[in-house]
Symmetry: C2
């Protein structure tokens, strides 16, 4: 499924907005200025206004944005105000790290089960989340109302695991492998590429070394 | 340091280009078409041409891009053709996952040491990488010519660990915590926010459920 997201760069920034606005909320001030947000995140104020506008909220002249409504608008736009039940497929180091990643809870993302084909892991728990065998995928997904799979298996197992996930009825996959998965039209796949962030950092380091020399 | 990267979205995509072009290279065909790349990555052909143009390479009409030169141009632009020696600071699940992440090796990124303040981890090895105590940071970084720190400590330890990293002479930090680090002007920080990818996925899932209903 190709759901076009023309606002993708803005959507990617919304979690950072949410994070600093929530921190600001603790000051008790009912309004937050777009310029202050821009400074905190090293963005231009006009960019901040445009990014926040996609959530349907507008700031008031001189006052700024009402903090509580702003948080609610961002959470609603991101659908982070509804619970999303997810399963980790591949309970190795990365899978375990994601199960323990506290931030996800703040975003409505509940990892409720993990799957692995390593019998030494099956039956154990990782941060209170139980590890099941791959052959239990369909039964557990149905029983626990899981709607999202987070794929963290080694790359050679990526497509076969993906096929099992789709066969189990899941229609959204967050893919942490470097494999371009083949899925039916109605299955959403979001690939997470840790190399992308490193690409930015690497180019900045190269530019800096040229500035210095 | 604010090194402006106006090409950031293009740079983020370059690792995906590199990945599929390397796979294509195994076919033995000396030229690769921009349209084929576009189809593989669900991008518009014009976008592919613009993205690849930042590396200084241009395709030939009807033939496409020369595969070997294209790979070399991307790797050179990303500075992935030089070795980068890095340390993991925080040898928990996420740090361990990154040490074991094979892709990084293809990008010149060599994680050569890990640091933790947990004495039960110090002295042990993770995927052949030794874990040192935090008090050894400066000595090991100098001895091993480490120029990049990958910060994977729990958030409450983020700023103090960052201060120790900076004091040890590191000028580039890849920050996997959700803390906005305070650093001197000449230190580069790239924050990796796992929530950004989830934001995109979450919005796509919300849009789809509206289409269906």
């Amino acid at each position: 499924m190709k759901t076009k997201l023309s606002y993708a760069p803005s959507i990617r920034r919304l979690p950072s907005y949410l994070h600093i606005i929530r921190a600001f909320q603790r000051t008790g001030d009912p309004y937050i200025s777009g310029t202050w947000i821009a400074n905190e995140l090293n963005l231009e104020p006009i960019q901040v206004r445009k990014d926040l506008a996609i959530t349907g909220i507008a700031g008031k002249p001189k006052k700024g944005y009402p903090v509580e409504q702003l948080i609610a608008a961002i959470e609603h736009y991101l659908a982070w105000d509804v619970e999303q039940r997810a399963a980790i497929v591949g309970a190795g180091n990365l899978g375990s790290a994601l199960i323990g990643y506290q931030e996800f809870r703040n975003h409505g993302l509940h990892i409720v089960a993990a799957f692995d084909n390593d019998l030494s892991k099956v039956g154990r728990s990782i941060h209170q989340v139980q590890v099941y065998g791959m052959e239990e995928l369909k039964a557990v997904i149905e029983k626990m109302n899981i709607t999202l799979a987070i794929l963290t298996v080694p790359s050679p197992y990526a497509q076969s695991s993906c096929d099992a996930i789709v066969a189990a009825g899941i229609r959204a996959i967050w893919n942490f492998t470097n494999v371009k998965l083949k899925v039916p039209e109605d299955v959403l796949v979001q690939r997470e590429d840790l190399s992308s962030g490193y690409a930015i950092l690497s180019v900045m380091m190269r530019m800096r070394s040229k500035e210095v020399s």
